[in-house]
């Protein structure tokens, strides 16, 4: 069984899923993440699923579990990079992902966690030049 690597960038843990997820891998990832959040005191978790071509109910439930689990440990979870076909399928499947926050890509996910990517601050065209904070549907997360 393969394990999904967890990277640490500042106060954020980054999980980039690049493999076809097997159920055991999913369970191991949940455990590994819980462990890493405690050890590193991370404030945020980003799960990058740009490379994932299907999310079934088991994998979807993992996102919700990780989100609730990390919230208990005072860390915010953002799922980034969901493909359109995957999103449409999840809606059809009837899975809402509960309280999981999502962002279009890694950069926006980092911003949502208030951990901006160095050198990728605000879009120059923006009138307020701040890069737009209140992206998520649940409003801005980080203090401003």
């Amino acid at each position: 069984m393969e394990r999904v690597p967890i990277l640490k960038i500042g106060e954020v843990l980054l999980v980039s899923i690049q493999i076809d997820l097997q159920d055991q891998t999913v369970l191991a990832l949940q455990e590994d993440l819980a462990d890493r959040i405690v050890r590193t005191g991370a404030r945020g978790v980003i799960i990058d699923i740009t490379a994932v071509d299907i999310v079934d109910s088991f994998i979807g439930r993992m996102f919700a579990t990780i989100a609730s689990m990390s919230r208990l440990m005072d860390a915010e979870t953002v799922v980034v990079g969901m493909r359109p076909a995957v999103a449409i399928t999840l809606v059809e499947l009837g899975l809402s992902l509960g309280g999981v926050r999502t962002a279009l890509n890694l950069e926006m996910g980092m911003r949502l966690l208030g951990a901006g990517v160095p050198g990728a601050g605000g879009a120059p065209a923006r009138a307020n030049g701040s890069g737009g904070g209140a992206g998520g549907r649940s409003g801005a997360a980080g203090p401003r």
Partner: protein
């Protein structure tokens, strides 16, 4: 009408569930399904393969090309197990109902994601679920 013979493979481990997804993806792409429809049927297959493994105690799956009455191409997947069967089919197809650790979206979700869905089950004998997805 069905073009013979489909790939038949065993579902005996978690790895097999992943393999079923790959086989179905390849078959759906070969049948000419759109990306969204491929994703839907692969997701349905993933749910059903997991059901076969966990609730059916393992079984087998057959993935085949199909042609509808109106001449549309498609992919048909048949999951068979010789497990305990489903005592109350209506309940099993109810959204959110689960007898195991799932979210209860396995059967009902797979039904919503496919164009045709049939379930045959006999308590003590086993279960066969067939799903089909046609090109649009």
């Amino acid at each position: 009408m069905t073009t013979p013979p489909g790939d038949e493979m065993a579902i005996a481990s978690n790895d097999d569930v992943v393999r079923v997804r790959q086989v179905v993806r390849a078959a759906a792409a070969a049948a000419g399904l759109s990306l969204v429809d491929q994703t839907k049927i692969v997701t349905a297959a993933s749910e059903l393969a997991r059901n076969t493994f966990i609730y059916g105690g393992g079984g087998s799956v057959r993935v085949e090309r199909a042609v509808s009455e109106r001449g549309r191409a498609g992919v048909r997947i048949v999951f068979t197990d010789e497990g305990p069967g489903i005592p109350d089919v209506d309940q099993a197809l109810t959204e959110g109902w689960t007898s195991g650790s799932g979210l209860g979206l396995g059967l009902s979700g797979a039904r919503r994601l496919s164009d045709e869905f049939t379930l045959e089950t006999q308590v003590g004998k086993g279960t066969t679920v067939t799903v089909t997805k046609w090109t649009r």
